[in-house]
């Protein structure tokens, strides 16, 4: 199944702001007015350096944080503010998350079957123990682990295997949206590819949409249908993967693209990455507004900047 752009968006984030009050006179503005949409079955890549707010967005969307301002609509339901019991159940089953660190994302004192089965246990979605076991075994097979792994503990696994367990935990709820928060950056290259393949297979089979948060652009390009470029809490540029990679408008996007390492020695040794420094660039993100470049390609900047860059 590929992305269905004719349907209503599965997730709609409008002008999301997430501030953290550190002390009485200091507030961290992690996310500043970000808007984007994810359609059913689509993969939306969110890229940016550390501190750009990309992980915060993921956590606000799944309501690990209470958004400061803005509106998040998921599955035609407003999930900002206080949630009713049924909305909460819907959110906690239909939206799932895969975490970054395979070491800390699994409870070291729980068996793999109990980690995977946690969602089932919380929402009582099985009628007998046999049914629960069957579901767990099926999921294990789907993520490429052997059934005998069910009774083992997380520390007995390698990083890639643990990340598979994390995926199985999210998958068992049959979610419509999976937020993958840097879920491959802690893995070895060959294992990264395994996990990405697995995620693609799952998408083809279940039609789940992904919010793929990462800093590795080559993987993001490979897996995403559309991409959003984030810097200092602002969504600077968004569009289809093709649009962003073939026609980057914002200087920050350009510098990001120029820095992607390639396993090509001669090319690499001759390449010089573009530099981009927000402080000296003369750009003020707060003054920018959304400008349509074409198709679904938007860039956040002032009118003058837009004219200059898009020439």
């Amino acid at each position: 199944m590929t992305a269905n752009y004719n349907a209503e968006p599965l997730l709609k984030v409008e002008n999301l702001k997430q501030h953290f009050k550190v002390s009485n006179n200091y507030t961290v503005k992690a996310v500043e007015g970000v808007s984007f949409e994810i359609y059913p079955g689509e993969t939306y890549g969110l890229v940016g350096e550390s501190g750009s707010g990309k992980s915060t967005i993921g956590r606000s969307v799944i309501r690990l944080y209470n958004p400061t301002d803005g509106k998040i609509t998921f599955n035609d339901t407003d999930i900002t503010g206080h949630l009713s019991r049924s909305d909460k159940t819907m959110l906690r089953t239909q939206m799932q998350m895969i975490f970054q660190d395979p070491m800390s994302s699994l409870n070291p004192r729980k068996k793999v079957e109990d980690i995977i089965g946690e969602g089932l246990d919380i929402h009582h979605t099985y009628s007998s123990k046999a049914e629960r076991d069957k579901k767990i075994k099926e999921i294990l097979a789907k993520v490429g682990l052997a059934p005998e792994h069910a009774s083992r503990y997380p520390h007995q696994f390698s990083g890639g295997q643990r990340q598979r367990v994390g995926i199985a935990r999210a998958l068992i709820m049959n979610p419509k949206l999976i937020i993958a928060d840097e879920c491959i950056s802690a893995l070895d290259v060959s294992i990264q590819a395994q996990v990405v393949n697995l995620m693609k297979d799952i998408q083809a089979e279940t039609g789940a949409a992904y919010l793929f948060i990462a800093h590795d652009l080559s993987m993001v390009k490979y897996i995403s249908d559309r991409i959003g470029v984030l810097h200092l809490g602002h969504l600077l540029e968004t569009g289809t993967t093709e649009e962003i990679f073939s026609n980057p408008i914002h200087p920050y996007t350009k510098s990001l693209l120029s820095a992607i390492p390639e396993p090509n020695p001669v090319v690499e040794k001759n390449r010089v990455a573009l530099t981009y420094d927000y402080k000296t660039s003369g750009i003020n993100y707060n003054e920018g507004t959304e400008h349509l470049v074409g198709g679904t390609h938007y860039v956040k900047c002032t009118d003058a900047e837009f004219e200059k860059w898009s020439k």
Partner: protein, 361 residues
């Protein structure tokens, strides 16, 4: 061969653990010439970090060196060339003469190698005073010039700052400055950029390259990032399960890989033109070295494994002057096996792109 500064011969190391002996390094040979950059590539657990710790003489207490020799040639205090076997010297001697002085190391996380309670200047000056006979004022001046050398602006002002006041990239620059403070002969970089953002990664690597060129020191990169390797290395050693399974000039290994594991590594990293539905990957996970490996350690994960792989370990086959690979596929008796077509196409694409810069390819 006068210019070989590090020569590792038949290194074999085990670790005593509560579960039994873990055979982490199973016979490694490589050498490094002056001014050269060698990359050691491998997944976590392949033994690449252990090899470098052995070279620094900072192996953990439970390590047992079964055999091997690490000959390090360096300029000693009197300016003469000397060669020592690092494995034979005790830790105290190494700390005094080698570590941080002749061999310096840059770690993945700059915060772990900086003292959070001391300002940058003090850390730098102290390192210089410890290893040289300079006076305090001269050491201070040297520290400032080092900071300038690693591309830190307002060096004098930065000297008074503490590590937490600097950005990640800046911290790594400071770590490099500290590493350079004693004019080492060899710089070991252990995943120097994995903790940094892509845009800063490129800058740090360019910095290390620049410093190396100016000072003529040798650099060993330990990394799993093939993009970094492609950018910096002259030679590549690919490690798997405690052995080097392919080595050669960077161009040879990248444009004409021979070992199925290297094939897997290269194709696991999508380049910007990859459109295939699936990435070609290496299935499974690395073996547990607690159990003695019979035959080729890679065989269980190898889509191109031969029957012989389970019986006997493949020797190093020579392909060109510098290019070697340990796989039975290179044996004349083996059936002809080609690399996966996805990779073939990718390599052709890479070569085509590369030929824009270098017409020989």
């Amino acid at each position: 061969m006068a210019d070989v500064i590090l020569n590792v011969k038949n290194l074999d190391i085990s670790f005593k653990t509560s579960a039994g002996m873990v055979h982490a390094i199973r016979g490694i040979d490589f050498d490094l010439e002056r001014g050269e950059t060698v990359a050691i590539v491998g997944e976590s657990g392949s033994g690449k970090s252990v090899t470098m710790k052995a070279a620094m003489g900072i192996l953990a207490k439970n390590a047992v060196v079964n055999s091997g020799q690490i000959d390090f040639t360096y300029t000693n205090e009197d300016g003469e060339l000397g060669t020592v076997d690092i494995l034979e010297k005790d830790k105290k001697w190494l700390r005094k003469h080698i570590n941080g002085k002749r061999i310096a190391m840059v770690f993945q996380d700059p915060m772990t190698s900086l003292d959070p309670t001391m300002n940058i200047g003090k850390q730098l000056v102290e390192g210089i005073l410890l290893h040289t006979k300079l006076s305090k004022d001269l050491a201070y001046m040297k520290a400032v010039s080092l900071l300038k050398e690693v591309g830190i602006e307002d060096a004098e002002k930065r000297m008074k700052q503490y590590p937490h006041q600097l950005s990640g990239g800046m911290r790594q620059r400071v770590v490099i400055a500290i590493a350079l403070s004693c004019d080492p002969n060899l710089l070991i970089c252990d995943e120097p950029t994995t903790a940094l953002d892509v845009t800063i990664q490129a800058k740090i690597i360019e910095l290390i390259k620049k410093v190396q060129k100016e000072r003529g020191i040798s650099v060993i990169y330990i990394t799993h990032d093939l993009g970094v390797v492609a950018k910096v290395a002259d030679y590549v050693n690919v490690m798997y399960a405690g052995k080097i399974i392919e080595k050669g000039l960077t161009n040879e290994v990248f444009y004409d890989p021979k070992h199925p594991y290297t094939w897997g590594l290269l194709s696991a990293m999508p380049d910007l033109e990859t459109d295939d539905d699936r990435l070609y990957t290496i299935p499974g996970s690395p073996p547990n070295l607690l159990h003695e490996v019979k035959g080729d350690a890679f065989s269980p994960r190898n889509r191109f494994a031969l029957e012989i792989d389970d019986i006997e370990e493949p020797p190093m086959f020579q392909i060109t002057k510098n290019h070697f690979a340990a796989t039975w596929l290179l044996d004349p008796r083996a059936p002809k096996v080609e690399m996966p077509t996805e990779l073939r196409e990718r390599l052709d694409r890479m070569k085509k792109e590369a030929s824009k810069y270098d017409s020989e390819l």
